[in-house]
Symmetry: C2
Subunit: 205 residues, 2 copies
């Protein structure tokens, strides 16, 4: 999978490490400002001021502000997806794997709260061609696949609607970014409580 | 409860009805544009252009764009809250009332999708003093009160965390605005499926 933005990362030269570090810092600061003030209300000038650099230096890495948004979202999206897909390959009944996936996905969201906030709140502000690169493998689909797997192996009730129940679960987890404040709950505690409700709500037994 | 914006509505004069109608149209168009393009990316000038009026005419009704955001949110917030509070006063076990509240609240959200989108997506963009007017009676609190009521009357499991389970439910329902497309599902169907999962997940029996 190739992303055009990646191609514009600095080439391997003696100063490469510094370039990579600058790039990471640029992404971190952008994510924080997009999460706090919103994407539309944050200008490249404000990000440059926060970093103490000239706005012109951005164009070494990106063409526009929307490239920054894409990079912040792309990065957390693929990390989260990779982790989630690993659950899907685990052994166990659909319900057992679903339980682990709910706990793990909620924890992932809290552990990457700034970037997931930008992903979940600003996804629609990506350009259409950017959005296309990040769809087709969504979490709702993976979640409903697990529910169907549970229905096939008899661990999940047959009368459950896999799509709507996946949307209920994904909604609960995604909504965390709207209320979670650092330290309010342990990430694992949130996921475990959610998983407990959903396992009881979906179990065939 | 007095809201300063209301006080600036046109006084009772022969032309009052037309003024009210213009005000409603202004709110509808603002809600639609805030929902579609985002609050920060929508200017008063764009709203004026959409309405085919001069931007200056706004200042008869509002002081600033944030007054418009507040009015859109305030209106749907209080309607939803009033409806929700009515459930809380109904007879039945906590779990029975919770079931009705989930179905009704999900339906309300879908029926008022444009305004709830603005409420749920742009709440943090209100001025602090505007936000203060709309807190202290939130849906999460009402939801967790119903869960506690169920624990008191024995209909809800005692080992459920009322706050986290309320947040799971509210998250599922609030997230609807992120995926719902007109006609994709009947509003009642969504609420009923969510309620079924949660009732099974929380029941003591």
């Amino acid at each position: 999978m190739a992303f055009p933005i990646n191609d514009r990362k600095p080439a391997r030269t003696p100063s490469r490490k510094t370039g990579d570090e600058r790039w990471e810092e640029l992404l971190d600061v952008s994510a924080r400002m997009f999460a706090q003030y919103g994407y539309a209300a944050t200008s490249l000038q404000q990000i440059a001021d926060e970093l103490g650099i000239l706005k012109g230096s951005f164009y070494y890495y990106i063409r526009s502000k929307s490239d920054l948004l894409f990079e912040v979202i792309r990065s957390v999206y693929w990390d989260g997806l990779e982790r989630f897909q690993a659950y899907s390959k685990e052994e166990g009944t659909g319900l057992e794997v679903l339980e682990r996936a709910i706990i793990g996905h909620a924890a992932f969201l809290v552990e990457h709260l700034t970037a997931t906030t930008v992903y979940l709140h600003e996804f629609e502000r990506l350009e259409p061609e950017q959005r296309e690169k990040l769809t087709g493998h969504d979490f709702r689909q993976l979640m409903s696949d697990l529910i169907r797997r549970g229905q096939d192996d008899g661990s999940v009730r047959a009368d459950v609607d896999p799509t709507l129940s996946a949307l209920a679960i994904v909604g609960s987890i995604n909504w965390i970014y709207r209320w979670y404040r650092s330290g309010s709950r342990a990430p694992e505690e949130i996921g475990r409580e959610f998983a407990r409700i959903y396992v009881r709500g979906l179990t065939a037994h």
